[in-house]
Point group: none
Chain length 230, copies 2
Amino acid sequence: MKEYSAKILLVDDEPDILEIVGYNLKNEGYQVFTAANGDEAIKKAKKKKPDLIILDVMMPVMDGMEACEKMRKMPELEHTIITFLTARSEDYSMIAGFDVGADDYITKPIKPRVLVSKVKSLLRRKLQVEEIAANSGSTKLGDLVIDHDQYKVFLRKEELVFPRKEFELLSLLTSQPGKVFKREEILETIWGVDVVVGGRTIDVHIRKLREKLGDDSINTIKGVGYKYVK
Amino acid sequence: MKEYSAKILLVDDEPDILEIVGYNLKNEGYQVFTAANGDEAIKKAKKKKPDLIILDVMMPVMDGMEACEKMRKMPELEHTIITFLTARSEDYSMIAGFDVGADDYITKPIKPRVLVSKVKSLLRRKLQVEEIAANSGSTKLGDLVIDHDQYKVFLRKEELVFPRKEFELLSLLTSQPGKVFKREEILETIWGVDVVVGGRTIDVHIRKLREKLGDDSINTIKGVGYKYVK
DNA sequence: TGTAATTATAAGGTTAGCTTAAGGTTAAGA
DNA sequence: TCTTAACCTTAAGCTAACCTTATAATTACA
């Protein structure tokens, strides 16, 4: 499942930090590159096009702020996440960091566990932004993407809004494409055994689904029920 | 992204319990390890680093209380959830349990279905808390900057004041932008498993957030929950 | 072609959530 | 400790979205 391993550029003038943080990140399966100052960082960033850059603020030759500012202007790094590394409680530098285009901010002293989970969450967020699908709880059926976590449905990249009952009905039908769900079955699953609703209620919801999906994906089997076909 | 299956350490001196509970948990896809007394539990916990430990109170060699107390002091188990297993109505043992650092307790006789759903909710809660912890330092989401270390929030450079509950709620929602958090989930994460507050409490806090953030960043999914969108 | 089932449309009813305000609780400061 | 202010929770009425029903039109199949 981990087909793609993210590239991370780690920039700090202290070899110790490079070593320990680098070790932990590699351990998680990331590709790690390092640089010791801003100048070097820019060169490497250009060459490697990392997904994430972790940048110490205080460095000789060219400090983090300046490097960040420059990198932010490079079109090939447009989608790269840049996060600063700084000593705690320097408020002003945090704001300044965001000003020059940083996305995030990590305070020293660094705790490897915390840093690793932070990196994970940043990269996950990036993925989510880049690719709506490709995510955990989502199902793809041709043009249709159903994201169960986000309660969202996309048809050819366009988002459709489904209220709860409609969403549940669609989820049910698409859970086994091609299978015919009997009316009775649908009622039990979505409305529950004890809830009694009129026989026409299902039809109306089916109609709403068809309206939004465009007509031919839900078939009627007369006298029995409905099925989803892609 | 969801290939990780949680590790659970199950500790009880009755083989029957180990068997039946273990079976049910494995069935749900968890990795289950077992131990028959506190001593053994500590050793296994150290080696396996489980996400969750289910610990019987009454055991020979070393009882649950003592084991819990010791495990709580081990840094590698810092993020592990410990829940007790106790005969009903031994109130005092429940209190004592929380004293020695337990997170929750389950009463006997055990109903597998109940236990499984409790386990699920504990693990889910743990995941969310970790996700929030990963955001230590500060984070930028569009115009919004959240400083988790200092409990501060800035919207377009202006500082906004969020009391504790509001801050936690905002942290949770922003920890995974786009994800829908169910009301139930929110309650568990922010108010805790055992705290019971009325259903309208969430709404009111959401409203306060919206008031401060300006309206469209928190969406309602009726019948389900809320999500933060950039 | 006739009948039963489904579809279309619109109009109520219901429920979840929003809003506001007030009471209770906790925490901070004198 | 007492006072005060901030915060949290609850309550109640209101609104709007959603769900269900009713009815008429249409379709599928014997």
